[in-house]
């Protein structure tokens, strides 16, 4: 009872709802299990926990999704976040995983993000990929020597778990970067002597991106986050490797435009970035 009451959505005024699920007055329900004191009713004591739950989790989503917040605006983002938490309450011991199912929720419930559902879903996916890149698992890197020992027709490579491949309709990497830069300027503004100028500049809303087919790898290097744009052929090769293809088949998946010189250059870069590990579970490159 207490748990269900704590996670129940607040009303429009951020208060505990006045009626319980079965229609009974919430005050009567709360009084059944919570003692009042000389200052607070049972309802008011329960309301403290109800508010704290929602404020804490909504804050966590805002922190993790600055790009989505900027794209939707405060009101729409708030409605989306509340609906998401109501339908998909946290199933993890850590708030780190709170947004792991947000992209799927956006696609399943487009009314919260219409008419920008495709963009919103891609931003949510991109922002989750950053969480994965920040502290996702890192496996031992495959050495060039071990690659040389196996013929391409038999060689399979895994992609580091912290690397996420994204095929996007929008250049959300550039958009989210501009939002973060704007937010950083806002926070700097209060410490700047000529803060009015900076504020006016910072208050300008980042322009929503126009469609532009974009292939990305969200990854980390020396424990710093990076987004690397990929050519479509390179993306196809990495995607095929992630799905368990042999090196020969993966390179073939790149198509004619993946010339030997290009492929060699890409692999040199990817090896230097430490993206390859022993082949394990198959992973799917994510495409819109």
């Amino acid at each position: 009872m207490m748990a269900a009451a704590v996670v129940r959505p607040l009303d429009a005024n951020d208060n505990l709802q006045s009626r319980w699920i079965d229609g009974r007055p919430m005050g009567d329900v709360a009084a059944e299990f919570i003692k009042p004191n000389d200052r607070l009713t049972s309802f008011e004591r329960l309301e403290l926990y109800n508010r704290m739950y929602w404020y804490r989790l909504l804050d966590a989503i805002r922190d993790d999704c600055p790009g989505l917040l900027a794209a939707l605006g405060e009101a729409a983002f708030g409605r989306l976040a509340q609906a998401y938490l109501a339908k998909r309450p946290s199933r993890s011991f850590t708030l780190r995983n709170l947004c792991s199912r947000l992209e799927a929720f956006i696609r399943e419930h487009p009314r919260f993000t219409a008419p920008r559902t495709a963009l919103a879903a891609e931003i949510a996916r991109f922002e989750w990929a950053q969480t994965v890149a920040f502290d996702g698992e890192s496996r031992p890197v495959v050495s060039a020597a071990s690659l040389a020992r196996t013929p391409p027709a038999r060689l399979r490579l895994g992609l580091q778990p912290y690397v996420t491949l994204l095929a996007l309709r929008y250049p959300v990497d550039a958009y989210v970067t501009s939002v973060k830069r704007r937010d950083a300027m806002r926070s700097e503004a209060s410490n700047t002597p000529d803060s009015n100028i900076v504020h006016r500049h910072a208050a300008r809303r980042s322009r929503l991106p126009r469609p532009l087919r974009t292939f990305l790898a969200v990854h980390r290097l020396d424990n710093r986050l990076y987004y690397k744009r990929l050519e479509p052929e390179a993306f196809r090769i990495l995607g095929a490797l992630a799905l368990g293809a042999t090196l020969a088949r993966a390179v073939a998946a790149g198509g004619r435009a993946a010339t030997p010189a290009k492929v060699k250059g890409w692999f040199t870069t990817w090896m230097a970035l430490g993206w390859f590990c022993a082949a394990g579970n198959k992973r799917r490159a994510r495409a819109s």
Binding site: L48, R91, S92
Partner: protein, 282 residues
């Protein structure tokens, strides 16, 4: 009890919480700090910067793990995957003891991410103690349970909070992380005498203490950890130290976090009360 079996027989002094705004100061200036408390969950990750940072801290400092998600009071059984992660982290940090809260917060695998108060019943005490034993046996590190601040009490309760705490730790044979600020906050919210609380717990089981700031509102007090410690809490701390002996003490400052030096200096104020307790004991 400066060192006892509940804190791994470690004679730790005054520590502070390891928090993000202080990372660069700590790594670059290497200030003298007796020990840092880390939130276990922040480092129960697979890789990346959190673990790199932790390893750099461990090269220089002693670390004690404090958890926020074990939910000893929840009916859910301990999750083996979660316990393995916790054990792996404990082996990495070599934490002498582990702490988490005497509360609940999850139901059937859904998490509230809050520290919810328990009904103080004998059945709940037995179930909670059993869970504490299971966790300790799996992780193989002594456990101290922390009393939480609360804003609600239940009709179902059969005893006071301090009786419940005592019952649980005796049944579990574990230690207490005595949060003096939480006792103060709850005493105001529930109109009990905080000194009666302190006088009636098993003092020999206290392995660590917490102090923190709180925020007063018209009808209640919130445990906000965003202020210096207030005088009534320091007085309670002095009393607790007289009763329990000088214990490893940690200042919690988790919101509106000021400079490292300000936080550390606030924590070191505990020395005044420790000295006072020592003189009183002579």
């Amino acid at each position: 009890m400066p060192a006892n079996r509940f804190n791994g027989h470690c004679d730790y002094g005054i520590g502070i919480g390891l928090r993000v705004p202080h990372y660069s100061h700590i790594l670059s200036k290497k200030p003298v700090v007796d020990w840092f408390e880390i939130i276990s969950e922040n480092f129960m990750v697979e890789g990346g910067r959190p673990l790199e940072l932790l390893d750099r801290i461990l090269e220089q400092y002693r670390v004690v793990q404090h958890g926020v998600s074990m939910y000893f009071g929840s009916a859910d059984k301990p999750d083996r995957t979660h316990l393995r992660r916790l054990r792996d982290l404990a082996r990495r940090t070599k934490t002498p003891w582990l702490s988490d809260h005497l509360c609940w917060g999850s139901v059937d695998g859904t998490y509230t991410h809050d520290l919810l108060p328990m009904p103080y019943t004998f059945a709940a005490a037995r179930r909670t103690a059993e869970k504490i034993r299971q966790v300790r046996d799996f992780v193989e590190v002594p456990i101290c349970v922390e009393n939480v601040s609360s804003y609600a009490e239940f009709h179902a309760s059969e005893m006071t909070e301090w009786e419940f705490l005592s019952e649980v730790v005796e049944l579990a044979d574990c230690g207490i992380l005595l949060d003096v600020n939480n006792i103060y906050v709850s005493s105001k919210n529930h109109s009990f005498d905080p000194y009666e609380y302190l006088d009636n717990i098993p003092h020999g089981r206290v392995g660590q203490m917490h102090v923190a700031g709180h925020t007063k509102f018209e009808k209640y007090i919130l445990d906000t950890h965003d202020h210096p410690v207030l005088d009534p809490v320091w007085k309670l701390y002095a009393h607790a130290t007289r009763l329990c002996g000088v214990s490893a003490t940690l200042l919690e400052w988790d919101d509106r976090i000021p400079s490292f030096d300000e936080v550390h200096n606030e924590a070191l104020k505990a020395n005044e009360f420790i000295d006072g307790a020592k003189k009183a004991a002579v």
